[in-house]
């Protein structure tokens, strides 16, 4: 499992130690089922890309669905900003 900090400064998502629940700056934190930071970023990119059409690209749709199942939110932006 890799914990990713989803940054708001335009840089790519960054892996955090597993016991850390916030990044050094603003942004959400998610857990990704992956074996390396690089793989985790690829899974996250696939999961958050625009929805793939099941009709026109069934393989891509399956891959995106699988990627989305590998992601767990740890800390959302709303929670970080103190919203309910």
């Amino acid at each position: 499992m890799v914990r990713l900090w989803i940054r708001e400064d335009g840089e790519q998502p960054k892996a955090l130690p597993g016991d850390v629940t916030a990044g050094p700056g603003p942004g959400a934190v998610v857990d990704v089922q992956a074996r390396s930071s690089r793989e985790a970023r690829e899974v996250y990119a696939r999961a958050t890309a625009a929805d793939v059409s099941e009709e026109t690209d069934p393989q891509g749709w399956l891959a995106q669905r699988a990627a989305r199942k590998r992601i767990t939110t740890v800390r959302t932006l709303a929670r970080m900003r103190g919203d309910a």
Binding site: R3, D9, E11, K14, A15, P17, G18, G23, R38
Partner: protein
């Protein structure tokens, strides 16, 4: 490669050992070397504590002359006095507001201004003050000015006591400074050799600390060699333990991504000499972080049409370091040493007798491949447009005679405004892809000039262009040392987001100057 190491393990290896024990002495040696070979005026801001935040954000000084416009030791006492809602800032050589040498008047919070010299001090520079300045006339706020040794020579050897003595003094002392700088270079080489042995191992320790950490078996710290392909493109083959470490830093899943402070490097678009015969362009690009600031100069050394090649010469911005070698071929991708590139030298075409783009699109939109001195007239193609019912035939010739034996490419039955590809004729090897204009007509006076580069242009010299590389302010200190001394780079992030702080390499070395060079 995910090593599965904790952040603490990474900090021990990269922070306390590599940076703290090996790169820190290297940083010190670089600073001493520069102190005896450059002409910087460095500044320590001491006692700037009247308020919660610093009164001085940035300061530069020029014309410093110890004991003339500073104290004997090189101190200046700074006072901030309110002036309406702004600030008067004054610099003195002694306490009690004695020896005024420079000032600025009515500077707003957060403002920047040039210093005004007082009492013919000869001092100049600029100051940027804080966003929330606090009044301070305590004489506890001081500037300590450290002038590099070479810059002190003309200040002290003023020929007041004789020209000949000063001339020999200058020669002897300048030679001494060069010797000291050279000794620091030897120290730097020794540190790099030790770092290599620490990482990779030696006769007494076959697997070094670095290889043990990564579990790999590299035999070099860094490798970066040209990797050309058969068609003239040149990539780079990079390896060595530091590149393995870089990958492992990025892939770390247990300790989280490991990085140092980044170094933001930019390369401007190519600037071509006005006297060149050839015309071309190189787009701006982002080199790798290890690329040094300076100027890359490229000169045409082979003007075989279609395969013109340039050699490069690199001159560092802040030292006399140079590098030279074989550079790019026209229209091919080229990656240079030190992380420069990749760049592509593109041609800039021009055409005649169709200035309004009636018959063809702009020349810049043409794509020509396979050109040589045999299938062009020194880079010029002569074009004939003939009507073909409602459409057009377009023929390209290598001679103005437009003789059939000189036909090199042709496209037939092309619709007005349509794209076309003129394929080779007479086994010429040349192909032209372009588009017709909106108002073609049957003409035979248009030429397309590829403007090839020359070893000897009309001015009698090589065609030439330059590319400037700059590094943004506040580059990472560790990354800068790796780039300039090891031609290496590690995984990096923006300041304040890094896992391995630059403080590891600064600890116990020298005072933090306002503007850091090392």
């Amino acid at each position: 490669m995910n090593l599965g190491k904790t952040l603490a393990e990474w900090k021990r290896l990269l922070g306390r050992e590599f940076a703290g024990l090996l790169l820190a002495p290297l940083r010190e040696a670089r600073e001493i070397r520069d102190k005896y070979s450059l002409e910087r005026t460095q500044i320590l801001n001491i006692g700037d504590r009247a308020g919660a935040t610093a009164n001085i954000i940035a300061l530069t000084l020029a014309g410093v002359n110890y004991s003339v416009n500073t104290s004997v030791e090189g101190r200046l006492y700074v006072r901030f006095v309110a002036n309406g809602g702004d600030w008067d800032v004054s610099f003195y050589t002694a306490v009690g507001a004695a020896g005024l040498v420079a000032h600025v008047t009515a500077l707003a919070d957060g403002g920047t201004a040039a210093l005004v010299a007082d009492n013919a001090s000869g001092l100049s520079g600029s100051i940027t003050i804080g966003a929330a300045v606090t009044a301070d006339a305590t004489d506890r706020h001081m500037i300590l000015v450290i002038v590099d040794y070479p810059a002190r020579l003309p200040k002290a050897l003023t020929q007041t006591d004789g020209i000949e003595d000063d001339m020999h003094s200058q020669r002897i002392i300048a030679a001494l400074y060069a010797t000291i700088a050279s000794l620091e270079e030897q120290k730097i080489r020794a540190i790099i050799a030790a770092a290599t042995a620490w990482a990779l191992g030696d006769a007494d320790n076959l697997v070094g600390r670095g290889l043990d950490f990564t579990g790999t078996a590299e035999t070099t710290l860094v490798e970066d060699v040209a990797d050309p392909d058969a068609s003239g493109n040149v990539a780079r083959s990079r390896g060595g333990w530091l590149y393995t470490l870089k990958d492992a830093m990025e892939d770390e899943a247990t300790g989280g991504e490991i990085d140092i402070v980044k170094r933001v490097v930019s390369a401007a678009a190519g600037v071509f000499e006005a006297g060149n015969d050839g015309l071309g362009s190189v787009a701006a690009h982002t080199p790798r972080e290890k690329c040094r600031a300076g100027t890359w100069s490229f000169e045409c050394v082979d003007d075989t049409l279609g395969r013109e090649r340039f050699n490069y010469n690199f001159r560092a911005a802040d030292s006399d370091d140079t590098l030279n070698g074989t550079g790019p071929q026209v229209k091919k991708e080229w990656s240079g040493p030190q992380g420069f590139g990749p760049i592509t030298l593109a041609r800039t075409y021009s055409k005649t007798n169709d200035g309004a783009d009636l018959r063809f699109d702009a020349a810049s939109l043409a794509v020509v491949t396979g050109e040589t001195s045999l299938n062009t007239d020194d880079g010029v193609l002569y074009i004939k447009i003939e009507a073909n019912a409602a459409n057009w035939d377009i023929s390209f010739y290598s001679a103005s005679s437009l003789h059939s034996s000189k036909l090199v490419a042709k496209a037939t039955n092309i619709v007005t405004n349509a794209a076309f590809t003129a394929t080779e004729q007479n086994a010429s090897g040349v192909e032209v892809s372009w588009s017709m204009g909106g108002t073609p007509s049957a003409v035979s006076n248009i030429t397309l000039d590829l403007n090839p580069f020359k070893v000897e242009n009309a001015g009698g010299v090589r065609d030439r262009f330059t590319i400037a590389v700059t590094v943004a302010a506040l580059p990472g200190v560790i990354q800068t040392i790796l780039a300039e001394e090891l031609e290496a780079e590690l995984n990096s992030d923006t300041l304040a987001s890094e896992a391995i702080s630059d403080d590891y390499v600064k600890a116990g070395t020298f005072h933090p100057f306002i503007t850091l060079r090392n």
